[in-house]
């Protein structure tokens, strides 16, 4: 790269983001300056980062020491294949969100645009630094900056009490997680107080300490990833932020947590124990099911997407668990399959979820509504947004030939090998995990039909919706960029996997083989076991569809009449008779009743103004968090008793403490 190493280019681009952010402060109130100039420059940096990381994927790891920070404590940096995969994800996604953001932000929406620009770009840069950090100190520094920047972005509309509360909850759980990660690094240094990752890699911990480190990391990063039961902040915080930020948080920030788990368990600890994988698999599968079931019950479009993120993170975590099981038992090539399925899913989810979040942003700006019950029929008024969002919705429902299907296919193939695990009983239980993955995918299709159908199809549920306008040119480009990513990742799995292989080799020592594989045919397993050719698949469907249309057109007339929909002779059909969001979620609420806590208000038959209300809330909140909050409150009250507020009492405390210390010293 023109004499510059990938790492220094990458560093320059991250610094570029920070400079762009600071430049926003020059004219903090100007939307045009921040939007048109700075966000577009940020998008360029993102594109550069994507290119550099593509380059770095197949290059040997690079290291550097950056002499900033505390004295004698410089930042160690390293760019290897694993970092490159996630940097690629960050770069590609940020291009979409930044270009969209350039057209999206308006004046008078909470935080001043210049300040927002600073927070946004610092957030991006901190995520990049997390990925190239090579010592615990630099990692934690970047990690905390990431949490803080995103906290301020979440509370952009800080005048709304609910959003402040969401921000607080987010910050609280983020720090609980950070505590876990910090303790994990404390275990990993193994008493030598060498905090560089190189030293941790060289050190081999005993099984107890290794397990301890893994559990701490899984807890710490799991809190950031939103794995159940540490997910409660996610559906509050992600919807509260402006849409491009929600997109980044769901699409990229959650992946940072998965990166952390991968880095610690495969790279830093080095030799994972197989049964850790069962924990990750169990938590992941449960999160997947839990997230998607709750997504089906939501009535706010951004909350629905946030719950869907929990599902997708759960699926990725299940892939990670499977990889741990295989790697721990020495089945390296199968571990590579699971790792690649997981990384592929991370890439997919980054693109499709940011596409959907940006789509909701466009809808929000056009209508001012987040409530699904007040939307509908927008396809006619916002065709660009609608058709581009459709690609994201179909992709996340894991339908072929789009990208969501490829990672699901790889993961299911990995599950099909679990009967070869040399542990009886476990090898019987694990194939059932595939059923949960299949159920989650099928439910995701349900959720997406609800999401898309209620927002874009049907008749507008409010009169004001007919004035909705489509999004601007920059916003369209942002959506189209991400949609194109979804299509390309779906159609070219062989090329994508060839790039991801480097990361798999780094993590588990081997990559996926090529058994009779061609550029259009994905055949990652032993000869004849399974293959998938999305391009042939797509061309097949397309040619049959076109042929059918042609034949119908040739042999029959194409006359069409338009009329009102059939109303069964009722004569008073109106928009409110379509399914509401609550109505569409009803079968899922019914089938998965034990998951929910449901409060219903049913009208009596004699009400003049009947009202029906149903509130669906999370059981985990009442079962786990409320008792915890009560406990903390009681403990705080107990401590408060010590604070009597009289000087004499405090003097007495001092005297007693002195006596006790003297006793300890003398004894």
């Amino acid at each position: 790269m023109m004499g510059m190493s990938s790492l220094s280019t990458c560093l320059a681009l991250l610094a570029g983001w920070i400079v762009i952010g600071i430049a926003g402060l020059a004219r903090p109130m100007s939307v045009r300056f921040a939007g048109r100039a700075l966000f577009l420059a940020g998008a360029l940096c993102g594109a550069g980062l994507a290119l550099v990381s593509l380059w770095a994927l197949n290059a040997p790891p690079e290291q550097a020491v950056l002499p900033i920070g505390l004295p004698d404590l410089p930042f160690h940096l390293r760019l290897d294949a694993l970092s490159a995969v996630f940097l690629l994800l960050l770069g590609v996604t940020s291009v979409g969100t930044s270009v969209f953001g350039a057209g999206y932000f308006r004046a008078g929406e909470g935080t001043a645009p210049g300040l927002l620009c600073l927070q946004y770009h610092v957030f991006l840069a901190s995520m990049g630094f997390v990925l190239i950090a090579n010592d615990a100190y630099a990692f934690m520094f970047a990690w905390e900056i990431m949490a803080l920047a995103s906290y301020f972005l979440v509370t952009t509309q800080h005048r709304i009490a609910e959003i402040r509360r969401a921000g607080f909850l987010y910050l609280l759980i983020a720090h609980l997680g950070a505590l876990g990660i910090l303790l994990c690094f404390g275990v990993l240094q193994g008493g030598h107080w060498e905090m560089t990752f190189d030293a941790m890699r060289a050190l081999r911990l005993g099984p107890q300490w290794a397990t301890c480190a893994f559990l701490l990391a899984f807890f710490g990063f799991g809190a950031k990833a939103g794995l159940v039961p540490l997910h409660v902040w996610l559906p509050e915080a992600h919807p509260a932020a402006p849409s491009p930020v929600s997109a980044l948080m769901s699409a990229v920030m959650l992946k940072m947590a998965l990166y952390g788990i991968l880095r610690v368990s495969f790279d830093l600890i080095g030799a994972p124990l197989w049964w850790w994988g069962l924990i990750a698999l169990g938590v992941g599968l449960f999160s997947a099911l839990y997230g998607v079931v709750f997504a089906a019950a939501q009535t706010d479009m951004k909350r629905l997407l946030a719950y869907s993120s929990i599902e997708n993170i759960g699926i990725a975590c299940a892939g990670l668990g499977l990889a741990l099981v295989f790697a721990g038992l020495g089945m390296a090539s199968l571990a590579a399959l699971a790792v690649i399925a997981m990384l592929y899913h991370c890439l997919n989810h980054a693109l499709m979820k940011s596409l959907l979040f940006l789509g909701t942003g466009a809808v929000l700006h056009a209508t001012g509504q987040r409530n699904l019950g007040k939307l509908g029929g927008l396809m006619r008024y916002m065709p660009w947004t609608a058709w581009l969002t459709l690609i994201g919705a179909l992709a996340i429902a894991s339908l072929p030939p789009l990208n969501g299907f490829v990672s699901e296919w790889l993961l299911l193939q990995a599950f099909l090998f679990t009967d070869q695990i040399p542990r009886t009983f476990i090898n019987m239980l694990l194939p059932l995990g595939a059923a949960v993955v299949a159920l989650s995918a099928a439910l995701a299709a349900y959720v997406m039909v609800k999401f898309y159908g209620v927002i874009f199809l049907g008749v507008p549920r409010e009169g004001t919706l007919v004035r909705a306008h489509d999004c601007g040119r920059l916003e369209r480009f942002g959506l189209a960029w991400l949609a194109a990513g979804c299509v390309l990742l779906g159609l070219l799995p062989v090329q994508v996997i060839a790039r991801l292989n480097a990361a798999a080799i780094l993590l588990v020592g081997t990559g996926l083989g090529e058994h009779g594989q061609r550029w259009w045919l994905l055949a990652p397993l032993t000869q004849g076991r399974a293959s998938y050719g999305p391009i042939a698949f797509f061309v097949g469907v397309l040619s049959i569809v076109l042929l059918t249309a042609l034949v119908v057109r040739l042999f029959y007339h194409g006359r069409v009449r338009f009329s009102l929909p059939w109303d069964c002779g009722f004569g008073q059909l109106d928009a409110r008779m379509q399914d509401s969001a609550e109505g569409f979620g009803q079968p899922v609420r019914h089938v998965f009743q034990p998951f929910f806590r449901i409060e219903r208000e049913l009208p009596s038959a004699f009400d003049n103004a009947p009202k029906y209300r149903v509130i669906v809330t999370d059981r985990v909140w009442y079962a786990l968090y409320e008792p915890l909050v009560g406990l903390v409150r009681r403990a705080a009250n107990g401590v408060a008793w010590l604070q009597q507020g009289r000087v004499t009492t405090y003097l007495l405390y001092g005297f007693v403490t002195l006596l006790v210390l003297l006793g300890v010293v003398l004894a």
Binding site: G453, V560, L564
Partner: protein, 316 residues
């Protein structure tokens, strides 16, 4: 990829598209006989489709382009599915591009487009049908995948032709695990194709309908394509069943033309038997309430899981 393979591929698609309405007509005839009604001709579905193609299409004024594109996509997906399923021969060039998991994905794609199109016209029935269809879908799809998984674990592949080839060439073709999954598969077939006890293809009773509710706004050529696609779906499901549980008679390996010629009457016999069996099941069972559907499909899922456990325990 030789000529015979390409011929087989083409033959499979043409036979499926052409014979699907006939299979439906046969089931309807059997049902009428069993219920002591005078039976319509087996060719009735063709006449219906022909009639519909010649009519003027009436389209809800507020629907979008998606509504008009969906029938073609659904029909295209079902036709492509017919190309993946080995109904007569196992040397199918196209199956390299799509295995059994992709087949399930393809069926899901058709379902999602149908549901979206149903929501597009903005009527109460459309959304109701879409919601119920998606509910049946998310319950049936895992069960179907589990069924396929058992067969895949037995034959160590997810490619459908390879699975049926493996099952025909085994010395004893009887697997206890497959017996359980066959029950599960039959239940999934009934649910996914809108047959009794989940849905009744013969009525338009609003409390119970699923498939018909989604098609309520369709007319003329669009409705014809949707109806044809539904017939094709039933045909495809029957052929998946044959490929997994009755693979005998399918021309395996590098089939000679005469093996292929033999496969056509064998398929016809299987379809006749399956059709009458289906009619019998539909006649002796009653329609379930919509909210009993989860129980029905959970049972199907449990049967498939039982099959899986039996396979893993006994290795058979």
């Amino acid at each position: 990829m030789n000529v015979i393979a390409l011929l087989t591929q083409g033959l499979e698609i043409i036979v499926a598209v052409a014979a699907a309405p006939l299979f439906l007509g046969w089931i309807n005839q059997c049902r009428a006989w069993l219920q002591n009604r005078s039976a319509p001709s087996v060719l009735q579905p063709y006449r219906t489709i022909q009639k519909l193609f010649n009519k003027d299409a009436v389209i809800a004024a507020n629907s979008s382009a998606l509504f008009r594109v969906a029938p073609y996509i659904v029909f295209g997906a079902m036709t492509l599915a017919a190309a993946i399923i080995p109904s007569m021969g196992t040397r199918l060039p196209f199956t390299a591009a799509a295995d059994a998991i992709a087949l399930v994905g393809l069926l899901a794609t058709a379902r999602v487009f149908m549901a979206l199109a149903a929501m597009d016209s903005g009527t109460a029935f459309g959304t109701l049908g879409a919601r119920r269809e998606m509910m049946v879908g998310f319950l049936a799809e895992p069960a179907l995948l589990m069924v396929i998984f058992v067969a895949s674990l037995i034959s160590a592949t997810t490619s459908l032709p390879a699975i049926s080839e493996h099952l025909t060439t085994e010395a004893i073709g009887l697997y206890p695990s497959l017996a359980f999954t066959a029950v599960a598969f039959t239940m999934v077939l009934l649910a996914e194709n809108g047959r009794i006890p989940i849905d009744n293809p013969a009525t338009h009773l609003e409390l119970t309908m699923i498939h018909e509710a989604m098609l309520l706004e369709y007319s003329a050529r669009h409705l014809a394509l949707m109806e044809w696609a539904a017939a094709l779906k039933l045909f495809n499901y029957a052929c998946i069943g044959f490929a997994l549980f009755l693979p005998w008679g399918i021309a395996a390996g590098a089939a000679a033309p005469n093996a292929l010629l033999l496969a056509i009457p064998v398929l016809a016999v299987k379809l006749v038997l399956a059709g009458s069996g289906l009619a019998l099941i539909e006649t002796v069972s009653a329609k379930l309430r919509v909210f009993r559907a989860p129980e029905f499909l959970a049972t199907a899922f449990l049967f498939a899981v039982l099959g899986l456990l039996v396979h893993l325990l006994l290795g058979a």
